[in-house]
């Protein structure tokens, strides 16, 4: 008997022994779960580390075409075909159906290319359309709300200025310059005192031209000294001076107003106050305004949510 066959016999015996041991009653409870665990781990490992599956070549049900794995829904295809050909889908000839699908595939290819070229990042029209599309979906639930009369009325009183006719004013804005080439030696204290006197004289009936000449006032150049709408006057005067101007009536002279360039005095020639419209007369606008406000709230809430979940980093010196 050769040494090799002896070894083989011993090995067979020992392997039978091992198998017998694991099949024996006391190990039987462990053997099958252990085998299952080994097979499971092997399969999991194989799944994890094998190359990823190739893209599917099967078009899923409900999909008319897959374009680079992006689906064109059958429903969209039918709808598009009926829209283009204007007859029920079942009556559309095959060649026209094919033409429609080809057009949709071409469009999908263009969209995919546009995304690859990052058009949403670089093209303003695409960015606007994307933002508008999202906002439309965000707005939808808000626009389903029906306001009550009480809600509308409360909204109207909270936003009365929005439902007023625009007021007009003819105002002169004169300034006693401080510093600069016109009044190099003037200081704010002196200018303030002079302006107080000038205001007194103006209120006493002295002419604007005489007072300006006497105290060295100049026209600020901010307004046209002609009738202009309140909104225009606000732009021209700036918020601080406009806040003073809108309180003046015909012939009023303001108190001196200290600004960066000197001390201003406003002389109101003519003032037509804004006319607040009656609620009943502007119900439709109030209704639209109320819904616009709801829409704005929904969009703001959405943006707040997006910001809360975004990582936004600003470069040094940048503000938003």
């Amino acid at each position: 008997m050769s040494t090799t066959s002896k070894t083989a016999r011993v090995a067979r015996k020992s392997s039978r022994g091992v198998i017998a041991t694991f099949v024996s009653a006391e190990f039987r409870g462990v053997t099958l779960p252990a085998a299952a665990a080994i097979i499971g781990v092997t399969l999991a490992g194989w799944s994890l580390f094998r190359a990823s599956a190739p893209p599917t070549k099967i078009v899923p049900p409900g999909v008319a075409a897959l374009v680079n794995q992006r689906p064109i829904l059958t429903s969209d295809y039918i709808s598009e075909a009926e829209t283009e050909v204007s007859i029920p889908f079942e009556q559309i000839p095959d060649d026209q159906r094919a033409k429609v699908l080809r057009g949709m595939i071409d469009q999908e290819l263009l969209v995919q290319r546009a995304l690859a070229l990052d058009l949403p990042e670089t093209t303003i029209e695409v960015r606007t359309a994307l933002a508008d599309g999202l906002n439309a979906q965000v707005d939808a639930p808000a626009l389903a709300v029906s306001p009550t009369d009480d809600q509308l009325r409360a909204y109207y009183f909270a936003h009365r200025a929005a439902y007023a006719s625009e007021g007009t004013m003819t105002v002169h804005d004169i300034v006693l310059k401080v510093g600069g080439y016109q009044n190099v030696d003037q200081d704010f204290g002196q200018a303030e005192a002079d302006a107080e006197e000038a205001v007194y004289k103006l209120r006493s009936g002295e002419s604007l031209a005489d007072v300006m000449e006497h105290y060295g006032f100049v026209d600020s150049g901010r307004v046209q000294n002609d009738t202009e709408f309140d909104f225009a006057a606000k732009i021209h005067l700036g918020d601080k001076l406009y806040a003073v101007a809108e309180t003046l009536k015909d012939g009023d002279v303001s108190d001196p107003v200290e600004m960066d360039d000197g001390v201003h005095v406003l002389v109101m020639d003519n003032r037509a106050m804004p006319h607040y419209s009656d609620y009943e007369a502007v119900r439709a606008q109030v209704y639209n305004g109320y819904r616009d406000a709801l829409r704005a709230q929904a969009e703001a809430a959405n943006l707040a949510y997006l910001r809360a979940n975004a990582t936004i980093l600003l470069a040094p010196g940048m503000k938003e």
């Binding site: 049900p61 439309a136 939808a140 626009l143 389903a144 439709a284």
Partner: protein, 255 residues
């Protein structure tokens, strides 16, 4: 000792016991086979339900049966909260009845049309949805006075063969074709326009309630309810099954 015990166990298993075991095995195999066959069949039906063009599904009773078997669960989980478990709608929410055999607000009640409504919704803001129209709030915007709205309601009562005041109904008719221009959406015959979701006003079906007060409320405050888009919330198969079920349950029965 162990060997002798094992030997005695073996002796206990007699031939007639094998028959029982075989019978049990046969039952298990039969049940398993049935379950597998059923699963395979349902998978095939699910695939065919989607691959068959919507207009042709009516011609496949097997597909309709399959859709009717799976759709109720989907409906109750997603649609019943607005449209009601009995599919009769909810007037407080303005959710229309879905088993109305007379009219659909949008489209013709075909599988394809219903499927698109489920996919993209109504006034959902989705670009593919029906976003264009909504019922004007005539009263709250001051376009019609309360008296005028009352007249319009009386005209609608007349159109639906319900008790009405003739004088008010005549005034309402003038409003319908004049100042309020109701005909523009609801049609000269008041039969509605499913392109715009304008309901038929002559069949006494009222999505927001049919009492004179309810109708007054609809005209005064307008109607602009939404149906959400279910694309990406339900699978295409679930949406198709729902569409088939609603189509089958709502289509007029032939007389």
């Amino acid at each position: 000792m162990a060997q002798s015990a094992a030997g005695s166990e073996l002796k206990l298993i007699k031939p007639r016991h094998y028959r029982r075991w075989f019978l049990l095995l046969a039952i298990v195999l039969a049940l398993g086979g049935f379950a597998i066959a059923r699963a395979v069949t349902r998978a095939r039906l699910a695939r065919e339900l989607l691959t068959t063009f919507p207009y042709a599904i009516d011609q496949h009773p097997e597909l309709v049966r399959y859709a009717l078997s799976v759709a109720p669960v989907i409906y109750h989980a997603n649609c019943a909260s607005c449209h009601g478990a009995d599919m009769k709608g909810e007037t407080k929410l303005g959710a229309p009845a879905l088993i109305d055999k007379q009219t659909w607000l949008y489209g013709d009640g075909s599988v394809a049309e219903i499927e698109r409504i489920i996919l993209y919704g109504i006034r959902s803001g989705n670009g593919e949805a029906h976003n264009v129209t909504e019922m004007t709030a005539f009263g709250i915007t001051g376009q019609l006075t309360p008296d005028e709205i009352t007249d319009a309601v009386q005209y609608l009562m007349e159109l639906n063969n319900r008790p009405y005041n003739q004088e008010a109904a005549d005034a309402g008719q003038n409003l319908f074709f004049g100042k309020a221009a109701c005909f523009d959406c609801h049609g000269m015959d008041a039969h509605g326009d499913t392109n715009y979701g304008a309901p038929n006003l002559t069949i006494n079906v009222w999505n927001n309630g049919g009492t004179p007060q309810d109708i007054y409320h609809s005209i005064y405050y307008g109607v602009h309810h939404i149906c959400p888009a279910w694309y990406n919330k339900l699978t295409l198969g679930q949406i198709r099954a729902l569409a088939v079920m609603l189509h089958v349950l709502s289509k007029p029965t032939s007389t």
